[in-house]
Subunit: 310 residues, 4 copies
């Protein structure tokens, strides 16, 4: 399988089509919808094994909601985006369970690693009802769906595979469906924290941040697993690799001489590169994923250094 | 002036030497010292206007302390690094003031933007004595130096230039020397949160994160300003630019044919690029500087989306 | 002067009236307004020196906005309360300056001490315009009022009196009015984080948390100082003292015999006391103000204890 | 059973002895040890059903480590306290399992409620080995004990009983022993965040903060459960109740007249009460447990109020 280095079905489709010069991939169906100036929905459906092999993801639905200018989003735009996410999510859930069936929401990731903290942060804002239905049913509408939620942590801080933790909880709580939230990797800087992918084929935790773990899916957990992923990072090596390929293409198109290369090298290409790399006035930086921890250590060194010298 | 896109004198010297094929720059003196396997100290001294023009920084001392493997640093290594920082800082302070003179420590940056949070975090750990000497002198050794500290915030959140804030405070508190802590930009991924630059020539706040502000220095504040800066980010455009230049060099050395380019393009160069870009097992990612804020907005959208659909 | 142990003019008036069995205090005018079921506004006006002496606060306006059930407040109730606060604040500001005059908002308190963190948290959410008007006037309506904001920290962590810091900044920034936000002490558990007192007579920082500092007011800063205070704590000794007084009153009313005292002592009065002390289903606890720091130390002890023993 | 309103066996013993005027309780054995000026260890052993009934806790060991002056603790004192905790913990663990047996550490409580955050904070600092032993055994000493850790959250935010979550995980991970960390309630202000109780009889989550949940113990989980609890709060009603009882005792001893009561009422007893209530220079305050959430709501109201009026 081609290594796409993106978790987004919509990007994998693009790469496969481009590399194989195809108009559409056999076994893949696509539908696009522009909601408004800032929001686009793309539904990628993988319908057979050919599509599965091409995209490297299981048969099923992959809905991508791209939200532009989220940085400056006002209350009403956030509300609009939430409504689109809700609508797409509802469609997928209703394909699998009925309206009062138990749902367990799972926030993957590490709260203390900023680009991996989306899952636990979302969990913190989910409206939980299961315990009220169970212990105080008189205080809640009898048609309320039981919703519970958990942030199981990551293997590196618990020592336990997320699948092991969830297997146990699923056996006890017996939800009818899992919604799993995770950080993803994409190839596009524009999509960082601006895109939601909803899919009904489960998820492999940690894929977005480089440490693949055991799959969470109907196959491993025996209930439907809806995943909601948001790209949080682009790997720097992927970025440079993409840029190099674009550059080589340009070289080949222009049949450039050594003079051309010399000029290129002497010129300061920074501004042009910057324009391509940093869309929408973001200030894109390269940083180790562990930046928060590094800052804590460094802050301690500088403070002690000052204290000892004063 | 050449745009170095790094705040580190030691990196600017390297770039200038390489670009001009010089062994050493006129007006620049350098001294290196290996403390142990993980810690190196480089003292760059700019001694005249030629050096000033070449490096693009004022005459003065620029000490770089490089600390390797800080990610996994144990208590004793952090302590060792702190001692080196303390020693170099003490040397610089003693050149300018005497042992009981008042010092004000200033932490620049925005606590809520992770890669810009070093200054405020350091301030939180500084041992403050000025108020004890002033209000409770009986509780403190009479030879204690008065130390005060402040995090003035950033223009974007206060609406006030850092220089304006500090001018006012300096007039009231009348310290004899300022120590200013800030985040810097460097060209080297290896130096992120691993290097401290100490200098006695002041600082331009925000230079490291792209928004140049009014200089804090003896010229503007009338007292010596010692700066302690730590590189926190590499701009993604700088990174790609550097990689392209390395690549062009390689192309020229190998007098490559179009076949060569084709092969390069088809090959997956990811692993090689990764090796060059991600030293020491870090997981380098490209992210907008405003990632924390973006995550908060996105977390709200996903949580609301879920809540509305359940 | 009587030691009221509350920063709220409305509570001081109550205590003074009760202790002196007065219907109203000479020199004090009061106006109450019920906005809705959950919001009450009380305007206490101290009009002469007699009122000043009785209440122990300078001549001026003290507006108290009491908001009930803030714990469970929904978006629309928060918005309604914000509107009332805004209206009262606007009235007071308009008495002193005109519509385009510069305002500096100051958030007193320590971000890292939960019950003292209100000021810095509010500052984080203020819409700042001064720098846009100054550097990018083309991007902003020309009638916008210049607003800047600062969190100067507390004496214990800066070593500098808040007044010294603000004097310097006021001289440089030259605002026409200061809005100062601080945590207050009250005598009523019901008012914790549920009441805003707005006044145009300045503020003494830290009064609410036990460390009185130099006053911030027109007298010390030469511009009007509007303060917005929120009670965050009740001192445990104040609470017990109040309870004892209530109890003694009851003893005296009931001309109790020793038998009565014996019964009281044997009985478990916990539930009755709880009912009186913990209104609105809050879970009132006694805790040291420094609880966060204590938890960090204790958390370190327990974690190390475990690590060393495993 | 008497309602002790404390989770500490050592305090329950005191109360029972005092109320029943006993020198020692039948079925309870006590051993005290002064480690140094600041650290005391008390071992309460409940040996039979009589002791069980008296204390209201199951047969087993209850070790209390009291640490004075933790507020100002320096590195070496924290280290010393950690060593005592480690020693006592090791003794208890070794009674139940052998040196290489799997241990799962569980941090109960809610990270976002300051006085309930101890458990999750401790978990963050535990050295985890289970995943290294399982996936990278070559990198670790072969005698290392497998340690894993989890913060399961609280019923109010997950909708799932802690016992349900742990039953599932214990079935999958199969540890031989659980160490459970939780916040406790005590009757003594001096013990807040200054005392660790270690016991081998399990724990009832949330007891310390007022919401009793299903017991975690050998009986419910089929493996030994060692609990480590730290008192984080004193309920304000408990505090006032205790003060009232002390006061009534004094009244009875002094056979005071109504004059005496009148004097008491007129006097300002604040300073005396303060001295009794606030040991060690702490600043004891009464606050709702939900203070952090309340501050967020209030901070939003004040900030919006200001923004709307400017």
């Amino acid at each position: 399988m081609y290594n796409f280095r993106t978790d987004l079905a919509v990007e994998r489709r693009e790469i496969f089509r481009k590399n194989n010069k195809l108009k559409e991939i056999d076994g893949v169906e696509v539908e696009e919808k522009k909601i408004n100036e800032n929001i686009n929905v793309t539904r990628v459906k993988i319908v057979n094994e050919k599509g599965e092999t091409a995209i490297g993801k299981p048969i099923g639905n992959y809905i991508t909601i791209d939200i532009k200018k989220i940085k400056l989003a006002e209350e009403d735009e956030i509300q609009k985006a939430s409504e689109i996410v809700s609508e797409e999510l509802k469609n997928i859930i209703n394909k699998h369970i009925s309206y009062k069936d138990d749902i367990l929401v799972v926030g993957l990731g590490n709260l203390y690693v900023t680009p991996d903290s989306l899952g636990p942060k979302v969990i913190n804002d989910i409206d939980i009802t299961r315990h009220i239905i169970k212990y105080l049913p008189q205080y809640i509408d009898e048609n309320t769906r039981p919703v519970s939620a958990i942030s199981p942590g990551v293997l590196g801080t618990t020592g336990i595979e997320t699948l092991e933790i969830l297997e146990g909880i699923v056996e006890k709580v017996k939800p009818k469906l899992l919604i799993v939230i995770d950080s993803l990797a994409s190839r596009s800087i524009e999509r960082i924290s601006s895109t939601v992918q909803i899919s009904d084929t489960g998820i492999v935790p940690g894929a977005g941040v480089g440490n693949t773990r055991k799959e969470l899916s109907q196959r491993t957990l025996n209930i439907p697993v809806v995943s909601m992923g948001v790209p949080m990072v682009v790997e720097s090596a992927v970025l440079v690799n993409d840029c190099l390929n674009l550059f080589i293409e340009k070289l080949q198109q222009e049949a450039k001489s050594n003079d051309y290369l010399n000029k290129l090298k002497e010129a300061d290409n920074y501004e042009e590169i910057k324009e391509v790399l940093n869309p929408q006035d973001y200030n894109m930086i390269v940083t180790p994923k562990e930046i928060d921890e590094l800052i804590d250590n460094m802050s301690s060194i500088v403070a002690r250094g000052i204290n000892m010298s004063l």
